[in-house]
């Protein structure tokens, strides 16, 4: 995030910013910027550790910070999050301790899931962040069932169902949107369209005018917005959550972003991204855009910015240190949590 690079400016007056973020808008902005800086620093550090062989795999969310931070801040503690692939920052904003997330990336004994999942698959029930698989789309219909349960129990929560552009081609996108609309459930479907499903561009996923355009066919509203514009994402998500909470039914938000890093540590985008794509993406860097706006409005003095960067760095280093010091999971945890009780499984199994 070089402040000198030419980023597409966010054209909001302070009054418009206040309208988007609510009465405490400067505090929200400060919080948002800190989380975005932390997410960016964490991603960079993890990619470095992966290259050094200290963690096995990493998939960054660089370029999607505005979406993730806005979702974390705009949702309430009553709400629930079903992640797609790159929403780990939502869990952190909603209360997953960074150190605990680091333990899950290292797959160590202090990972609540005992190192059973690849990196970037955290589980955080206290943050209302549901365990994810690596299968594309399955969480969409699950989110719908969860929303059904919330309504059945007359709870106030709304479900945020995340997925990428590729997932809009999956069976469960169709099933999930269809069921949610038929049952009129409190779900905000968030298509984080970073324009690439590994190497396949968005125009290969659909011939429709947009992903949002699919919504009306299911009987719900679809809105496309700039996912690199924190103000827009926060405003639209807040509205969608409010509406769903009030019984307004489901909605599909297509949040258009740029994937600024490879799909994962195993991917090389030079094989498929056209020349100039990364440069175009850099102009839409959500962190740089927000930073430039805050600087232009005297809300981020240089010393404050440096302090936030240093704090993010310290937090990330401490989390990595803690995770690297933890032992691997004990061998006997291999056969735990398959069933509620260990004796429930098929025969004895593992002797």
């Amino acid at each position: 995030m070089n402040p000198d690079s030419a980023v597409e400016p966010l054209s909001y007056t302070p009054e418009e910013a206040a309208a988007a973020l609510g009465p405490e808008w400067t505090a929200t902005l400060e919080k948002a910027y800190r989380w975005m800086a932390l997410g960016r620093a964490f991603d960079a550090r993890m990619q470095g550790l992966q290259r050094q062989g200290r963690i096995g795999f990493y998939g960054a969310a660089t370029g999607q910070e505005a979406v993730n931070v806005a979702a974390g801040l705009a949702s309430t503690s009553d709400d629930w999050v079903f992640p797609g692939l790159r929403e780990q920052l939502v869990a952190l904003v909603r209360g997953l301790p960074l150190e605990e997330y680091a333990h899950s990336i290292f797959g160590d004994a202090l990972d609540p899931a005992r190192g059973r999942q690849m990196p970037c698959h955290p589980t955080a029930r206290p943050a209302h962040y549901v365990s994810m698989s690596s299968v594309i789309g399955t969480q969409i219909s699950q989110a719908v069932g969860f929303a059904y349960a919330l309504r059945h129990r007359r709870e106030r929560g709304v479900v945020l169902a995340f997925f990428g552009d590729g997932a809009t081609s999956s069976n469960d996108f169709h099933a999930g949107l269809n069921f949610a609309a038929v049952f009129d459930l409190p779900v905000v479907f968030c298509c984080a369209n970073n324009q690439w499903a590994i190497s396949v561009p968005a125009e290969r996923q659909t011939a429709a005018a947009s992903f949002a355009a699919k919504a009306p066919a299911y009987g719900l509203e679809g809105r496309q917005l700039d996912g690199t514009d924190f103000f827009a994402v926060y405003r639209e998500l807040s509205m969608a959550l409010r509406s769903a909470r009030a019984g307004g039914g489901p909605v599909l938000l297509e949040l258009r972003t740029y994937r600024l890093t490879p799909h994962s540590s195993s991917d090389d985008p030079r094989r498929y991204q056209p020349a100039g794509w990364a440069e175009e993406g850099a102009r839409r860097d959500p962190v740089a855009r927000l930073e430039a706006w805050m600087q232009a409005h005297d809300l981020l003095p240089a010393d404050r910015r440096a302090k936030i960067a240093a704090a993010a760095d310290t937090t990330v280093r401490a989390a990595v240190r803690a995770a690297e010091a933890a032992p691997p999971p004990a061998p006997e945890t291999l056969t735990e949590d398959v069933y509620a009780s260990r004796s429930s499984g098929p025969a004895e199994g593992t002797e």
Partner: protein, 325 residues
Amino acid sequence: MTELTLVQAVNRGLQEAMRQDPDVLILGEDVGVNGGVFRATEGLQKEFGPGRVIDTPLSETGIVGTAIGMALYGLKPVAEIQFLDFIYPAFDQIVSELAKFRYRSGGQFPCHVVVRAPYGGGIKGGLYHSQSTEAYFAHTAGLKVAIPSTPADAKGLLLTAVHDEDPVIFLEPKRIYRAVTGEVPDGDHRVPFGKARLVREGSDVSIFAYGAMVPTATDAAATLALEGISAEIIDLRTLVPLDERAVIASVEKTGRAVIVHEAARFCGFGGELAAILAEKAFYSLKAPIARVTGYDTPFPYSLEHVYLPNTDRVAQAARTTVRAG
């Protein structure tokens, strides 16, 4: 006690569970107004309302995915798949998600769903209303698989399934939905998982069966008795968890084993049973283990009577093992 058919017992089991616990919900195709194509959910929407007995759009992945979401919250959904043959759009949800939620979340997200599905042949249903593919599910760690063969067990195993903490694939032998009636205990009747049922005691050969093959095996035992062969019939009731102790103990007593299932032979559940016996009861065996199964073909329409194991085939297999040693 009430005299019921197997499908009526399923219905009473569901009704009892829903009366016990407002968090029990039913969802599936045609389960509401129509009461299910086999009438397993007859009258339930009337009693419990459309919010708890839910007619869904036609999508198996949607049904099971939705049920998983309900269970993640803490409800106790019972999803009906109209025929086991139609479960495959939901296979991803069952194998990748349902079976693995507890494990991958370190116990933070247990996911207890009962997936009910009528299964098996004998109703002239052809390739897509007849199959018996329990082995796919028994092979997947994290799932339990229950298959009743009597009305009392249909209710008792179903109530256990609904109150279990793990996901359960509950397979109902539709061929005997109405072919048998039996006394079913009223109220909260539960049959524990992992306890096989001794249907008939015998000393010469053990015949292991489940679902609609239990009455077939029992008929074969009656034929064999006339010839002086004493066959023991064991109904497995649950494939997962398997009552391994009962299986081994029976073969230790008789020295001979015949395994019967409708499913195709290759990699069928009988292969696992045979392997367990070879590993753990080898020195008790007096004769090679025999399997009486469906053929390694798709399920046929006109020739289903050839495909399905019958009394003659089971009796012949038992005779062969007895003569072998």
